[in-house]
Subunit: 167 residues, 2 copies
Amino acid sequence: MTHTNTNTDQAELLVKTVIHNWNLQNQRLDSLLEQLSDEDLARETAPGRNTGNWLLGHLTAVNDGMLPLLGLRAKLYPWLQLIFIDNSDKSGLEFPSTADLRKFRKEVNAALTEYFNAMQVQDWTDRHQAVTEEDFQKEPHRNKIGMLINRTAHLSYHIGQLIYLIK
Amino acid sequence: MTHTNTNTDQAELLVKTVIHNWNLQNQRLDSLLEQLSDEDLARETAPGRNTGNWLLGHLTAVNDGMLPLLGLRAKLYPWLQLIFIDNSDKSGLEFPSTADLRKFRKEVNAALTEYFNAMQVQDWTDRHQAVTEEDFQKEPHRNKIGMLINRTAHLSYHIGQLIYLIK
């Protein structure tokens, strides 16, 4: 049996496929975080490299930043940016507890998921807030779905490091 | 100025956005590989973890496998599978030289790029060869573009580890 999609179907399917992969990588991190104790997360992923806690905070801060960048709402935890994006693991700044970091991640991801479920194809192919209208005309791939694809890659990149906390 | 896309445009734009990100991650790895000497690649990415050489071979073998999975052609280097997919870094199997591994990667990626440039939206939303027609009806996100998104995430995952070879 062959099934011919209309173009609308195709665009919808493409968007769903991207979101599916975003969810998949997040589930992968959820499952990794369940396997890792708070003590594990306090360790460096490799000698002299970022700790699990910093990476957890970093990924949460980056996801939180997607809320305004995608034009959805203000950040839930704007103060994470200073510790986990503007500064490195070895900044000496005080981190929230690992329990809080785990909680923040869940809340930010729940907010994103709620918005994603309501977004239409046309929303996803619109420009995001980090690109000007002028640049967007020249580089139409700098749209919201492009940001989600990029953030999926960023997430996987750091999962590749967090997995080193598994003994 | 606002620009309203037709649905065909949207599907095309979505496919281009995914391929753009695939290219971006590959360029990122290319640039990392230029920074790393053959001696660097012989080292473990973290104590007891995969070496740079194994990861380079692994990523090349996985990309090579995409050629048949996407229905494009047979693998260029089918024998890489045994060393870099079916077995781990510490298998004791002899690896090709780092110079050869670098060359294989370039050739596999050049082949993929040539095919990607010729593929249409409809090709990308078709099922890939690792899913049956029956399963595909139930899970239409298991299409070729889904595989490319998945492989982009896989690539980023290992770039996150290879970056630890930078001193």
